[in-house]
Symmetry: C2
Subunit: 367 residues, 2 copies
Amino acid sequence: MDLDIVFLGTSGSVPTARRGLAGTLVRRGGDRILVDCGEGTQRQLLRSSVGLVELQEIFLTHYHADHYLGLPGMLKTFALRGRELPLTVYGPPGLKDLFGVLRRIFGKLTYDVELRELRPGEALERGDHRIFAFAVEHGVTSNGYCLIEEPRPGRFDVETARKLGLPQGPLFGRLQAGETVELPGGGSVAPEQVLGPPRAGRKIVLAGDTRPGREVLEAARDADVLVHEATFASEEGARAEETLHATAAGAAELAKAAGVKMLALTHLSNRYFGPEIAREARAVFAETVVPRDFDIIDVRFPERGGPRLVKGGALGKREEADSHGGDGSGGDGGGPRGGRGDSDDPELGRHPVGARAGGRAPSDAAR
Amino acid sequence: MDLDIVFLGTSGSVPTARRGLAGTLVRRGGDRILVDCGEGTQRQLLRSSVGLVELQEIFLTHYHADHYLGLPGMLKTFALRGRELPLTVYGPPGLKDLFGVLRRIFGKLTYDVELRELRPGEALERGDHRIFAFAVEHGVTSNGYCLIEEPRPGRFDVETARKLGLPQGPLFGRLQAGETVELPGGGSVAPEQVLGPPRAGRKIVLAGDTRPGREVLEAARDADVLVHEATFASEEGARAEETLHATAAGAAELAKAAGVKMLALTHLSNRYFGPEIAREARAVFAETVVPRDFDIIDVRFPERGGPRLVKGGALGKREEADSHGGDGSGGDGGGPRGGRGDSDDPELGRHPVGARAGGRAPSDAAR
């Protein structure tokens, strides 16, 4: 089953020319789960290859404006399209109060919005996976979210099955599903005779805004991907502590201690472009990426290579030329610093990066 | 004195991949006046060559969410930067109620926000120009806004001045300022002896959301530029009437009747890309443009050529390649229609278009 994380907005507190405000889409099979919805998220979706799909679930990490101001406009847009499908919004306690205010903006909708407040530790059980909320340390009521898949059946040993006299066909599937089956010639085969040990499911953790905290560490243990904020670099460590945000190094220390496979840093202050955050974190934990808007992390099963960053993997056709065709060719217009050269981008060539979605040549992209 | 209109968001009701929500910046000399502030306006400013400047005045036309949802985030961003400069927000009656809601989102700011409700007919007198509110027809309390410059002194006739014995120098300026001056050799010269008839100042009109209405027509009479909505094409005339919006043809009829020099159509429904709106309007009124986001109308004095559309005139460096380097190379990802070819764009080659801001070659823009 496909599982990926689409970065729609990777700037903290204020947008920049290059980075939108918080919004991360988790896609698993046919599920589409939006985590946070900063101002402009509906347009980021429109600009992406995802499009503004009829999301059924939105999770909010906390109620700072840069994490929810995209909601009223998006809810309104859905209504203008005549949406009838219900929507559930999850968030820490305070969600209903927030909607008391937002409702005065978006008014009457054409569909139902269910509000579900989740406390740390509460889980949504969904058969083959669950999503649970955990506590973070950001000074306001906040949740991090973890999506964890149930263990998968072990590898099916076809050779052993044949030796046991099992004919290839539906019996294989029943065994893999955990059922003991009768052999056509008499006798039976139990699943453990042909299946290896159960294989772990995948685990992704989105911590939201927080300083590196004990609960995040526990939730992130052995995760395939930890999406953690890195609002600051260590040069602003005091400010990070004061505002209960993380530095790149702090998040990397946590990722290392938790033994995650990949750390993705987001929610950058507008004074950073990404490469300096990546450099600082990688000195501590090599498997760090700093996605830009419209990057994807493809969370492959370990036997298929594990998580990988796909740069520009969610770029809409019209955005390709701009947002990633020019990787490293200039500065972020929204920040106070100057341009940077390609050589300054430590991400280039480091990670197994898939082809850009459309595979356009630069000359094509420039039309 | 420079006067121009920067289009930051030209989509109606919902954004598209290519067009943001309502936001128009009027720049006159050092003044920066934002008219409407849809979701994402702060980022559009950041993406533009203007930057997110400390606006001192914002005018709202009405309180539909697509016209003000960018305000709380922008006000918050100013506060995070420690702004101290006061801000005045103007709007029709209801502004204080609106801010009662928005204040619960943006919280405490570092600067004062003055709210000034303007009724149709109320004017702000500003020496060499004034801004007045006028009624529109949109079914909710709404204002259109008109900026009109005082007449300028007539052309100074240097030859006549010399014949009258006036030495070149400060006396010229005093005469032009309307003062009667003494001649060095005795006698005096009155302004009317050396000045031609007063020349009209410029007039720009931003109607906001409205069906083509009588008051708009009156306000727009002989305007240099009328910025009018064209949410629909005539094929959706019934819907335009029902929702109190304008069709392209309807706005063009009004512009023609008002005798404006240039009509700029904006607030397009996401089903239109621009060229079809332009075609329809130009069949009625040739001097119509349909700006895209980051286009500018340079409102030159008549003797300098009058208003002209500068395509991509406000593009930030990083946006050039994308938004206008690819004029006509594909469809608007946010709309239901397919791509369009260059030949489909009636704007190409029609209007005197200045060089793009940065003057980059396509190969350069693709980096």
